[in-house]
């Protein structure tokens, strides 16, 4: 439904006082595809190029190179007028809602229909159900200034849906909202995705958003997509360092500080490995720790553990120290790996024997 091929965007900054112009690459050769009906998240730190990426999809930013195709139509090849027509089929919502302050809630939702030249009577018929869908039918004649942040975003969602788009772009749509409001907006988006079969592309810096509604996620760093995975896989086993940082930050699963200071990279004579284990699916219900103790003869000291449910999957995470002689702990690691667990050795900690 959304296809970016070889998209780059380079900004040219004029040097001060007639100096040499500097070019800043914001996106580097992005290839990217979101199938119809899916919710795809792009996560990254600020300045990574997320905003530029999502703005390239409806050409609010024109890519320097590459092609953008939405619903089978190559937007990058369209004339101004044809692009405006195509944009009617791509809704967009923003971090700061961007509602017109001098229009009522009703008139805000009606705006895209007015732009399309829809007749007044039909506008009336189409706006009311949308306000009902987002739960604001009673606020139709109020002005945005009278609404809360969450209500404003609901109006913005209704407005984005008014033209019956096939694609919805969400630019940090929940970043200005508190956690409860965020949850309710995300629930609404999920609902819309299911009911209307709308394809949703969202950018965010919050793992919570990815976890709660995305099917698939891309990680953007420094203008490049460095990792892409199904959300369940990403939360179990991110492949990049940045992905792991996002995950650890989200799960707040770090070894205790006192231990980190004592961690060494290489094993010593009397050292024990400290491992981070991630397990999903069947492995969650396996009595792992006691089996390790029985079958490999090592003791397991659990430093931290957490069970998360990510969409329909259950994900267990644990930081543990494997205590025993070196050959036993090596065996234990091999055992864990053979049981479909994601094992990462964080370091070794020296024990006085």
């Amino acid at each position: 439904m959304i296809e970016l091929h070889d998209v780059s965007k380079t900004y040219v900054l004029k040097g001060r006082g007639g100096g040499i112009a500097r070019t800043v690459p914001a996106l580097k050769k992005i290839d990217f595809h979101v199938p119809a009906g899916r919710i795809h998240g792009v996560i990254g730190l600020s300045g990574a190029g997320k905003s530029t990426l999502i703005r390239c999809v409806n050409l609010l930013e024109r890519p320097t190179t590459g092609t953008v195709t939405v619903d089978g139509q190559e937007l990058t090849g369209l004339s101004r007028a044809a692009l405006n027509q195509a944009r009617h089929r791509i809704g967009m919502i923003f971090q700061h809602f961007n509602l017109l302050t001098n229009r009522t809630v009703f008139a805000n939702v009606a705006l895209p229909l007015e732009l399309m030249g829809v007749k007044r009577a039909e506008i009336q018929e189409r706006v009311t159900p949308l306000l009902e869908l987002v739960g604001l039918a009673d606020k139709a004649s109020q002005y945005p200034a009278q609404l809360s942040g969450g209500q404003k975003q609901r109006v913005a969602i209704a407005r984005a849906l008014a033209s019956r788009p096939k694609v919805l772009l969400c630019d940090e749509a929940t970043s200005a909202l508190d956690p409860q409001t965020t949850a309710s907006i995300l629930a609404l988006l999920r609902d819309i995705n299911r009911k209307l079969g709308l394809t949703i592309l969202l950018i965010t810096h919050e793992m919570e958003v990815v976890k709660s509604i995305c099917h698939r996620v891309s990680l953007i760093s420094d203008g490049e997509l460095v990792e892409e995975a199904e959300v369940g896989d990403f939360f179990t086993a991110p492949r990049t360092q940045l992905g792991r940082e996002f995950l650890n930050d989200f799960l707040k699963l770090e070894p205790p500080r006192a231990l980190i200071e004592r961690l060494e990279e290489t094993p010593g004579t009397h050292s024990h490995p400290v491992v981070r284990l991630a397990f999903s699916g069947d492995a969650v219900s396996t009595p792992l720790v006691s089996r390790l103790a029985r079958e490999c003869g090592v003791d397991v000291s659990i430093l931290q553990a957490k069970v998360e449910s990510i969409q329909e999957r259950t994900l267990g995470l644990m930081i543990a120290e494997l205590m025993g002689p070196a050959e036993k702990t090596r065996e234990a690691l091999a055992y864990l790996e053979s049981h479909d667990l994601h094992v990462e050795v964080l370091g070794h900690v020296q024990r006085d024997a």
Binding site: A81, Q85, F94, H96, L100, T101, E114, L115
Partner: protein, 217 residues
């Protein structure tokens, strides 16, 4: 005070109102679109035309930098061409209008500049054409600012119109100078000033009311 004097004051008041009304309406009709043009042709805006924007900017600045009293006499030939005479209220309305156009334009440009650029971006994402952005987003969103701009302009026109006496334009300023100052009649002077104060106050209150009524920020 004689009834002839009262008639004079009444006539001068009407002259002032007439000059302000004519120049206010015409300068708004020209100045608001010019202000919009100054804004939308800026680099990065919906109808970016850097060269046109530069030219308009310079012309506007020239208009704003000429002292009104000089403008009034400098354009006498143009005034004559336009209204057939260089004296009277109609003749005074011409330089008033010409002075007010760039004034309004810059104020309107400033009002548009206050609009959150995200609103324009949102409209673009909905496939709005530049014209639709102007009349569905920019003008309605700047409505309060535009009413403020018009109020400031009208008040300025009231005070500028007092100089219209210099080209035989009549009005309260002219009356104050001729009777109050030249003939040492402090009562007339006070009355004309008092009427001007009331007039300005009235316009300001009306303007404030319209701003309050039209703005939902």
């Amino acid at each position: 005070m004689s009834s002839a004097m009262l008639d004079l004051i009444l006539e001068a008041t009407l002259d002032t109102l007439y000059m302000v009304a004519i120049s206010g309406v015409i300068s708004a009709l020209v100045g608001i679109p010019l202000g919009v043009l100054l804004y939308v042709t800026r680099p990065g805006q919906v109808l970016a035309q850097p060269v046109l924007n530069g030219v308009l900017g310079v012309v506007t600045n020239i208009g704003r930098s000429i002292p009104f009293i000089i403008l009034m006499v400098a354009i006498i030939p143009f005034t004559r061409l336009l209204v057939g005479t260089s004296i009277g209220t109609n003749a005074a309305a011409v330089p008033l209008t010409i002075a007010a156009i760039p004034f309004i334009a810059r104020l309107v440009e400033g009002a548009l500049n206050e609009i959150n650029p995200g609103l324009v971006e949102a409209a673009q994402s909905m496939g709005a054409t530049p014209w639709q952005i102007i009349h569905k987003v920019l003008l309605p969103e700047a409505r309060g600012g535009i009413f403020t701009a018009l109020t400031v302009t009208i008040v300025t026109l009231v005070s500028y119109s007092a100089m219209a006496g210099a080209v035989g334009g009549g009005g309260l300023g002219d009356l104050g100078i001729r009777y109050g100052y030249n003939r040492f009649n402090p009562t007339i002077m006070l009355i004309t000033v008092a009427i001007l104060v009331v007039m300005v106050q009235g316009f300001q209150s009306l303007g404030d009311y319209l701003v309050r009524k039209s703005d939902h920020k």
